[in-house]
């Protein structure tokens, strides 16, 4: 069962045409625990819990896939470029090491 995670896809600049290369930022709220930190109350190590894969797709076709490790900062930020081929939808699918799967989408609306 996928937990609802807060995440956001940002496309920069806001105004772009077909053929332009835009910046696609994906930010998600996630603890990215390394497994090396102790819980101050219990003295036990907090288990490793981190996003391990992220896939960016456009209208269902993956254009960037990545492996993410526990060394990425808490509330990860991933930024890639994208050459806009047409109007459509970008989807970011991500999983974490606990097996949790989530997804976020954003419409791509080129002007001209």
């Amino acid at each position: 069962m996928a937990e609802e995670r807060k995440s956001m896809i940002k496309i920069k600049p806001k105004k772009f045409k077909v053929g332009d290369i835009v910046k696609v930022d994906f930010i998600v709220i996630h603890p990215m625990e390394t497994g090396m930190k102790k819980d101050k109350k219990t003295g036990e190590y907090i288990p490793a819990h981190y996003i391990d894969s992220v896939t960016f797709s456009f209208d269902g076709k993956p254009f960037t896939t990545m492996k993410s490790w526990e060394t990425i900062s808490t509330n990860p930020y991933y930024s890639v470029n994208f050459k806009v081929p047409a109007k459509g939808k970008i989807t970011v699918d991500y999983t974490d090491n606990s097996g949790e799967k989530n997804s976020k989408s954003k419409k791509v609306k080129p002007k001209g």
Partner: protein, 158 residues
């Protein structure tokens, strides 16, 4: 009489042993250094990624990191590769690595011509002063890299 004492002695010592051993084991465990879930040193990671192929230093890769990171838990990293992104010739992957964390790997990003540019940015954790390495794979099988040192005042891995 002797046998009885002997048996009692045996029972007593085994009871003592049972209470003492678990404590000894925990102490040993405590002495052992905590290992992360994916620990791997830089050299092993680089060899694994390049499959042992030569990795050349290249100024085609622009790696942007702060010279001094106030907070090792959030170090911005940006990689830009001066190389085409065409179907037959493109930047296939950008790997972000570090030289002194338990796990030398931070991200392995597989790109396609749809990206338009060989670019990736993120924020990583650095446990202390060390180098950040951008290892790039081109579609023709060439491996390139560049590294920059980041001074970390407060480590960010624990």
């Amino acid at each position: 009489m002797k046998r009885r004492n002997f048996l009692q002695g045996l029972l007593l010592s085994s009871t003592v042993a049972m209470t003492v051993s678990p404590t000894l084991l925990s102490a040993e465990e405590k002495k052992a250094k905590k290992v992360g879930p994916n620990d791997m040193d830089y050299k092993t990671a680089e060899t694994a990624i390049s499959a042992g192929k030569e990795v050349k230093e290249s100024d085609k890769i622009k790696l942007t990191v702060p010279e001094i990171a106030e907070n090792g838990a959030v170090v911005p990293v940006k990689v830009e590769v001066d190389h085409p992104m065409e179907e037959s010739n493109f930047v296939k992957a950008i790997h972000i690595l570090n030289t002194k964390n338990g796990n030398a790997r931070s991200a392995d990003v597989m790109l396609t011509p749809m990206n338009g540019k060989g670019y990736f940015a993120t924020r990583i954790k650095l446990g202390g002063t060390q180098e950040v390495v951008a290892l790039v794979e081109l579609s023709d099988g060439t491996f390139l890299k560049t590294a920059k040192s980041v001074k970390v005042t407060i480590g960010g891995c624990g």
